[in-house]
């Protein structure tokens, strides 16, 4: 085992647990637990959103993709940032203005609470589960590579930590773990980038010339890895429509005091996330130039070790240990965000509002929220242990597909279509959820590419229109809903102005 890496890991664990201890004393009510008492400022939330969003898959996966297949990985990166324009312009402020703790709060505002919250809780938990298993399985593999820890041990350590953060420190601890992670990740990536660039006189043209000389000009052109344009367009739809439907991102807007701060936080997040994804190209091309390709693929076929190996090539063992610790912190912050979002869907939407009809006391809600967090954490650990030898790369795509097809259509219709009904919302969510899962099951993710019934790995091109269609048909096939239409004006005024927002 790498001793420096081990010490840095222990240091990260110690600091994050201290933060949790500090946050625990400030987490008394459900508003503290789910929304950090709305005490987070715009820029803090912006950094936390970035920490919530930039996963180990981005850091290690995209750098690896670029190191092995050149330009195509960058094509992937672009969508992750542009997606935030949808969040900023269309979703963040209305949602902040009309919700309390979860995405379903806004939907339940004018529609019937029980069916709508149940459906929304289902899609939130599905998205969180897919995303979580992808993160945990990836994390187990990465920590094994970096630290030599056994897969099972790694999963249990990460799983226990994420439960501790959320159960004791709620959203406040989660936020600060995400902020610490974002700072570490940005420092690590910047350091690596500057180190690579100074070898090429800080000139992109020199860097590209060197890549072209060593790897051929083709390496700098699209199409080596993602050669199907329709697939790329479908991926783009999933990213753009899906990010604005990811529950663990959306609930971050409830941690700030107003829509104005929510807006500011998206801009902060965009500058951090954008810089990060631009730097993935320096990491990727740097690894392609400075580390032997055989060495990268020998360590991990998918290229996940490209960035750590680059760090080793540049700064030796200490730098490798530092980058490994950054990857570890990255994983922790993302999974903690997923636990609190899934627990909120279960405890706030399903238990408090559906089962208890909104009559549970704050104390009871807190108790259930904490138990739900433990439950979500334990189930995730078990699923991750069972999925050990599965290829889980498709799960992230599936999470984005469900978020884009099940959530975004009903969010938009609820905010802007007066005639929208409860049945429309339930049909929309279920059509989006079921069609995404089914299309993935009959796609090349599960079947041999030649005989796959559905040709695309990413179903969004078909499932997003289906989600809209389901919500639209469900509405037109149900009688006009007087209550929903009367409440629409109220929701509309409040979503646009923030009057009466919590």
């Amino acid at each position: 085992m790498n001793t420096t890496a081990f010490i840095l890991f222990v240091l990260i664990v110690a600091i994050t647990l201290l933060v949790t201890y500090w946050a625990a004393k400030r987490t008394q009510t459900t508003s503290d637990f789910y929304a950090a008492g709305r005490s987070i400022t715009g820029w803090q939330n912006g950094i936390a959103i970035a920490g919530d969003y930039m996963s180990a898959a981005s850091f290690l996966g995209i750098a690896g993709l670029i190191a092995l297949f050149g330009f195509d990985g960058f094509l992937y990166s672009v969508g992750f940032l542009v997606a935030f324009l949808v969040v900023l312009l269309i979703v963040a402020e209305p949602l902040r203005n009309t919700g309390k703790y979860t995405m379903a709060d806004m939907l339940a505002y004018r529609l019937k609470a029980k069916p709508v919250r149940s459906a929304a809780a289902l899609s939130t938990m599905a998205i969180s589960a897919f995303y979580m298993i992808a993160q945990l399985v990836g994390a187990g593999g990465i920590i094994k590579l970096l630290l030599g820890l056994d897969y099972t041990v790694s999963i249990i350590i990460i799983g226990t930590l994420m439960i501790l953060y959320v159960v004791f420190g709620g959203m406040l601890a989660t936020t600060w773990v995400q902020i610490i992670k974002a700072v570490l990740l940005m420092s690590g990536t910047t350091l690596l980038s500057v180190w690579v660039l100074q070898k090429y006189d800080f000139s992109l043209v020199t860097l590209f010339n060197e890549v072209a000389a060593q790897k051929g000009q083709r390496f700098l052109e699209p199409g080596l890895q993602f050669s199907n344009p329709v697939e790329n367009i479908s991926l783009g739809i999933a990213l753009l429509a899906g990010t604005a439907g990811l529950p663990h991102i959306l609930i971050r807007f409830y941690t700030v005091p107003s829509a104005r701060e929510a807006r500011k936080s998206v801009v902060w997040a965009m500058f951090i996330i954008g810089s990060f994804y631009i730097m993935t190209t320096f990491l990727g091309f740097g690894a392609a130039l400075l580390v032997d390709e055989e060495k990268i693929t020998a360590a991990d076929k998918a290229g996940n070790m490209a960035a750590p190996l680059l760090a080793e090539a540049l700064g030796g063992n200490f730098f490798l240990a530092f980058i490994a610790a950054v990857a570890f912190a990255t994983i922790l912050a993302v999974v903690a965000g997923l636990v609190i979002s899934a627990a909120g869907a279960f405890a706030h939407d399903f238990y408090s509002n559906v089962l208890r009809g909104g009559k549970a006391s704050d104390e009871e809600q807190m108790r259930v929220a904490k138990r739900a967090s433990i439950g979500v954490g334990v189930v995730s650990i078990i699923l991750a242990l069972l999925a050990k030898d599965m290829n889980v790369a498709f799960l992230v795509a599936l999470a984005f597909a469900v978020a884009s097809s099940a959530n975004l259509p009903v969010i938009l219709f609820s905010l802007y279509w007066k005639r929208f009904t409860t049945q429309g919302a339930v049909w929309g969510i279920l059509t989006g959820l079921i069609s995404s899962v089914l299309l993935v099951l009959i796609s090349p993710n599960f079947m041999p590419p030649e005989s796959a019934i559905f040709p695309l790995k990413n179903p969004a091109l078909v499932s997003v229109p289906l989600g809209f269609l389901g919500a639209w048909l469900g509405t037109l096939l149900s009688p006009r809903d007087q209550a929903s239409e009367e409440k629409f004006t109220e929701l509309y005024v409040r979503s646009q102005t923030g009057i009466g927002a919590e």
């Binding site: 094509l75 672009v78 072209a212 954008g274 409040r494 923030g498």
Partner: protein, 109 residues
């Protein structure tokens, strides 16, 4: 029962706000920015997978190994950043209308 009696009054109240010229102006201003801006960034973004997928035109070199496709992909980041700043600048202005709606509301109460 109590709830159904209360309902129409609150609705009227929100209807009133919705009909004020200030609110109408707020919605008009928001729409006039958000709709064209959304169309613009969607076209700009999807141009990347469409153009790279169906033509090689962006593979043309700019200088040495540097080609247009990298620069176009890179420009997407600056497009997103600049648009986000313009949006904030615009939204800060419409916030003043929101403030006026709030003031009117308080006067009435």
């Amino acid at each position: 029962m109590a709830k159904s009696q209360q309902q129409p009054r609150t609705d009227n109240h929100w209807e009133q706000v919705a009909r004020t010229p200030v609110f109408q102006e707020l919605i008009r201003k928001k729409k006039r920015f958000i709709l064209p801006a959304s169309v613009f960034f969607l076209l700009y973004y999807f141009a990347l997978p469409v153009v790279t997928g169906y033509s090689d035109i962006l593979n043309t070199k700019v200088s040495g190994g540097m080609n247009w496709v990298y620069l176009f992909a890179l420009s997407q980041f600056f497009m997103a950043w600049i648009l986000s700043l313009i949006y904030v600048w615009h939204a800060n202005k419409t916030d003043q209308l929101v403030q006026r709606i709030n003031d009117q509301k308080e006067e009435k109460q």
